[in-house]
């Protein structure tokens, strides 16, 4: 059972002549982690701002937790967490004061403040001015404010930029925990690889249009990208290999003892059987599935092919 927390219906947004978002529809469910992927300027931030009600759509409807976020109703915003792309704070206040201010605005319990600062690893620095923080520390403070008041919907715009690998891991651990509590988490990113294994569903936007929406497996299925099979040849007398290649077809020689083929999904098993068969001149075999970058590039290029 999944219940819808955010729905965007045929929404368009233009700034003057520039159309940032063109008729996008999408739905986000409770307990789901969604990756919103696109180049810089593809419309990711515009979509997030629309969900926050910071801007009004030129056409279409946005509903967040049952409310129109731009209508000036603020009940839903208490259950909403947002981390902007380049988060910044007033430099004069300390981390603790800053977080306490946001907690008061959200009517969250003030005892959450030290807890959250501890969770993002800022407890040692919480009484220092934000002006002395590094970029990564500010990003963590940004994450802490987004988590105030146990949000039902988290909108995180490029959340992992500026985080080192260990913090990134603890960041995803926090996300997983929230997900198990039924929080909808939207992560935006300009690279799909970054989100491998973190997102249940991927939405790709390009030039203001949604071009793909589904799990990574579904996207792989739709894209039908070939899997690369690489063989290491066994030492045989000359000619055997050439004969075997002409039997099984389309292999390319990488060098003297390496063969490669890009196998379409339906040919893959057949090719593997042949390579693993008795008498095949093969010593070792590697399977390289298409990377997420290739998948992403594929979807972008299919849109480019459209008129």
């Amino acid at each position: 059972m999944s219940s819808e927390t955010v729905s965007v219906e045929r929404v368009a947004k233009s700034y003057g002549r520039h159309e940032a978002v063109k008729s996008v529809s999408l739905a986000l469910n409770a307990g789901e982690t969604i990756a919103l992927v696109g180049h810089n300027g593809a419309g990711k931030t515009t979509l997030i701002k629309l969900m926050l009600g910071l801007i009004r759509p030129s056409a279409g409807n946005v509903r967040v937790l049952g409310e129109n976020p731009a209508a000036g109703e603020f009940a839903a915003r208490k259950s909403l967490g947002y981390l902007p792309e380049n988060v910044s704070f007033n430099m004069a206040l300390t981390g603790r004061e800053t977080l306490a201010f946001y907690a008061r605005l959200k009517r969250a319990a003030l005892c959450q403040v030290p807890e959250l600062l501890d969770r993002v690893g800022l407890s040692a620095a919480m009484d220092r001015r934000v002006g002395t923080y590094s970029k990564g520390m500010r990003q963590r403070l940004g994450l802490a404010q987004a988590l105030l008041g146990s949000p039902q919907v988290l909108l995180l715009d490029e959340p992992t930029t500026g985080l080192d690998p260990s913090l990134r891991r603890s960041f995803y651990a926090i996300i997983d925990e929230l997900k198990s509590q039924g929080t909808t988490v939207l992560l935006s990113s300009h690279a799909l690889t970054e989100l491998e294994g973190k997102a249940d569903r991927v939405i790709i936007v390009n030039r203001g249009i949604k071009i793909a929406d589904g799990t990574i497996d579904e996207l792989r299925h739709i894209a039908r990208l070939p899997t690369r099979i690489r063989l290491k040849l066994a030492d045989r007398e000359p000619g055997t290999v050439e004969r075997w290649i002409s039997d099984t077809g389309r292999w390319q020689r990488v060098n003297g003892h390496m063969l490669e083929i890009d196998a379409a999904p339906e040919d893959k098993i057949q090719l593997l059987r042949r390579a693993a068969a008795e008498g095949a001149p093969v010593a070792d075999l590697d399977l390289i599935p298409p990377t997420l970058d290739e998948l992403y590039a594929h979807f972008l290029s299919t849109q480019d092919a459209l008129p």
């Binding site: 701002k49 926050l52 910071l54 801007i55 009004r56 000036g72 603020f74 009940a75 915003r77 208490k78 909403l80 947002y82 902007p84 380049n86 988060v87 910044s88 704070f89 007033n90 004069a92 206040l93 004061e97 201010f101 946001y102 008061r104 605005l105 959200k106 009517r107 001015r129 940004g142 404010q145």
Partner: protein, 275 residues
């Protein structure tokens, strides 16, 4: 209401941390004390109260300084937060945009009131400590002067917000704020004086002059503080004030209008802006 107080509290907290409050208070106190003791020297033992002299000199100081301080703290309030990116985050919270403006306004007026009360109060306290005889009417006039100074400051804070809500860059806001200060504090009066001299009282009626005076908050302030009582005699403003139909009630209302109208306009402009 609670949101407004939360936002106001943060403004005050920031200003305390930035030493804004300290700097403003010290500046006002230092200038007020200087004027009090240097300014009272030439009066000697005239029949006017010592505090009345202070009121006249402090009012003249206020007209220059308080609008400047007010514009300095307010011109950055909206466009600065937008440019630094803090506004985006703030508006994603359950707060209305009008609450953001009013909250900042309450905070900034509180800072200015504190600085004025303490700075000018120090001058009056020092005067009283030297043993000068001060009657109740003078004390009352002094308190009214402080109140009017805060109102003048509030008006310029509101004007600063309007500028801040209208422009896209901080630099522009700073430039316009300086321009507004020059216009209201210097140029307007010089122009008005020039027109009066040229006109020689032929075309400009008293009613028109009153209207022209109401169109500048610093003139309203000047009339309010220097136009009546012993201060009027001392400042030479008594003449204008007597021939004018502007009662203190009208003047206070005009000063309040100079706060409410720009503040309302700033709120409307800010509410329509998209981030």
């Amino acid at each position: 209401m609670k949101n407004i107080l939360i936002l106001a509290r943060k403004e005050v907290q920031e200003a305390l941390r930035n030493r804004w409050v300290l700097a403003t208070t010290l500046l006002l106190a230092a200038l007020a004390l200087t004027l009090t003791f240097l300014g009272s020297a030439p009066t000697g033992i005239v029949a006017v109260g010592a505090l009345d002299v202070v009121i006249v000199s402090l009012s003249s100081l206020t007209i220059f300084l308080v609008p400047l301080i007010a514009l300095l703290i307010s011109h950055d309030a909206i466009v600065g937060e937008k440019e630094r990116g803090t506004m985006l985050l703030l508006l994603s919270y359950p707060v209305g945009r009008w609450q953001v403006i009013i909250g900042k306004f309450v905070g900034h007026v509180a800072i200015l009131s504190f600085a004025t009360l303490l700075g000018y109060g120090a001058a009056a306290a020092a005067l009283a400590a030297t043993g000068a005889a001060i009657d109740a009417a003078s004390w009352w006039a002094f308190l009214s002067m402080i109140g009017a100074s805060v109102m003048l400051g509030a008006g310029f804070i509101a004007i600063g917000y309007l500028v801040s809500a209208l422009v896209r860059e901080r630099g522009t806001a700073g430039g316009i704020a300086i321009g507004a200060w020059l216009l209201f504090v210097l140029i307007y009066d010089m122009g008005l004086l020039g027109v009066l001299v040229v006109d020689q009282g032929r075309n400009l009626s008293g009613g028109l002059l009153d209207t022209l005076l109401l169109l500048n908050p610093t003139d309203v302030y000047r009339l309010l503080n220097l136009g009546s009582g012993s201060a009027g005699l001392l400042s030479g403003m008594g003449g204008i004030a007597q021939s004018s139909a502007l009662t203190p009630a009208i003047l206070v209302a005009a000063l309040a209008g100079w706060t409410i109208i720009p503040l309302a306009m700033a709120t409307v402009v800010f509410s329509r802006r998209e981030l």
